[in-house]
């Protein structure tokens, strides 16, 4: 019995030392980690804000695509658009997308965040160039969701990854519709 307690307490001792040291390290790194996270988000927001001011985040409940948005205001403070936090369905699973959309539903800017697409195919969408296919659409022309809506050159560029393309397109379409509806209210 004594033996057993001794063994238990020795393991406990090692654990204790480990836990305390880790707690100390954590005390140093945690603020730093949080800071980095925020920074990353800010960077992304800045990219999609197209020079406008970003308001306070609002969650959208019960929407499969639009998870929430930041209002976008111009200098005067009137709302000109939204930055949407979108979830699309790609080839490898969910696509996290941040998109700037005008109140009229026009796509202003798109950035692909977390995704599990295939490098070289779907992951090409992380490339800023890629999103040009969507920008400017949504208000007058529909957001493209399939190859046939693209020029030959653009269509060739997405060959082999049209599911990703459609996934982003559909998410943006939903965002655009959302913006139009909100804007109309």
């Amino acid at each position: 019995m004594n033996d057993i307690l001794k063994i238990g307490s020795k393991l406990a001792l090692i654990c204790a030392v480990a836990a305390i040291s880790l707690g100390l390290v954590n005390a140093v790194t945690e603020p730093k980690i949080n800071q980095m996270r925020e920074q990353k988000l800010m960077n992304a927001l800045k990219k999609v804000a197209v020079g406008m001011e970003v308001g306070k985040y609002k969650e959208v409940p019960d929407n499969p695509v639009v998870k929430g948005y930041y209002p976008l205001n111009d200098n005067s403070g009137t709302q000109k658009g939204y930055i949407f936090n979108l979830v699309g369905i790609g080839y490898g699973g969910d696509l996290n997308i941040i998109a700037g959309v005008s109140t009229k539903g026009k796509i202003l800017s798109v950035v692909m965040m977390n995704n599990q697409e295939t490098p070289g195919l779907g992951k090409e969408a992380e490339n800023p160039e890629y999103m040009k296919k969507y920008i400017g659409t949504g208000e007058d022309s529909p957001v493209p969701v399939r190859k046939s809506q693209l020029s030959q050159e653009d269509a060739d560029a997405i060959t082999g990854a049209s599911i990703t393309f459609m996934g982003i397109g559909k998410a943006l379409e939903a965002a655009s519709d959302f913006a139009k509806k909100e804007g109309a209210e």
Partner: protein, 285 residues
């Protein structure tokens, strides 16, 4: 922050302590007795798993030594050294002769030097060739060159040269005896590791007959017997044998052998290096 460290400390320590106690209890309740000597013996055995001891691999032998009191000298690759170490663990003493024996092929007959009686078509395996008229060589004692020994050697000590002759690299041979077991013509035989020469013929036919079918066969002329002087060579059953206990000089005998069938064991390694069998190929005629 301090609170967090405190929580960490408490939870992990508690978890550790609990599990530690739990495991200790479990170990006590579920303890299984096991003879530790098995592991010790196994770690001393060479791990070649060659089967020379007659047990399934080294671990099998280790178990047999500890549980069944198997003889300690069965491991030929390990030799005297291992046997002594094992004996130490087992608290016994052993006596082993430390003359290392290796396998050697006692035949150099090739398509050029020996007569063949028919065209053989079939498995490249000596025991299979044996089924059909004991092989295609007219000499029924020689190496069939089917390479069964190559296939069974656990350490790839056997190879063939360009003329299809089989050679054993005595430095690689671990004396497991598998090739000797498998060889159907018994042309693979034990030779002391430090033997300098072997009589590379196995024909027990009369000299005149041997001469008819093979130009490198022993014709039992007894010249070697005479030249060696100290009895280092004995001709028996129309075949010369070397008495490896005699340490006299054999070069005179070797040089005067008319069939040139007494060969140096040193050449064996040189020739084996030329062609190595990587894949056993049984197809394509």
């Amino acid at each position: 922050m301090l609170l967090k460290i405190l929580f960490s400390f408490l939870s992990v320590t508690l978890l550790g302590g609990l599990l530690g106690v739990g495991l200790a209890v479990a170990a006590k309740l579920l303890a299984v007795k096991k003879d530790e000597r098995i592991g010790d013996v196994e770690s001393i055995l060479p791990g070649a798993n060659c089967g020379a001891c007659g047990y399934p691999g080294c671990s099998g032998y280790a178990e047999a030594i500890v549980n069944e009191g198997a003889s300690l000298t069965l491991c030929s690759p390990g030799g005297a050294e291992v046997a002594e170490k094992v004996a130490e663990i087992m608290g016994q003493s052993v006596e082993v002769s430390d003359v290392k024996m290796v396998a050697q092929v006692h035949c150099r007959g090739t398509r050029d030097t020996s007569k063949y009686t028919f065209d053989y078509n079939g498995l490249a395996d000596c025991n299979a060739m044996m089924i059909l008229y004991s092989g295609d060589k007219e000499c029924k004692y020689g190496c069939l060159q089917g390479g069964s020994c190559i296939a069974v050697c656990p350490v790839d000590a056997i190879g063939r040269d360009e003329e299809n002759r089989i050679w054993v690299d005595k430095d690689k041979c671990i004396s497991c005896g598998k090739c000797i077991d498998v060889c159907p013509t018994h042309v693979m035989k034990w030779v002391p590791y430090d033997a300098d020469y072997i009589v590379a013929c196995n024909s027990k036919d009369k000299g005149a007959k041997t001469r008819k079918y093979c130009t490198v066969g022993c014709i039992a002329c007894k010249i070697c017997e005479k030249k060696s002087g100290d009895g280092g060579f004995v001709v028996e059953d129309f075949l010369a044998h070397i008495d490896y206990d005699m340490k006299g000089d054999r070069t005179a005998a070797v040089e005067s052998c008319p069939a040139k069938c007494i060969i140096s064991t040193k050449t064996a390694k040189a020739e084996i290096d030329e062609v190595k069998e990587t894949v056993k190929v049984n197809d394509e005629n």
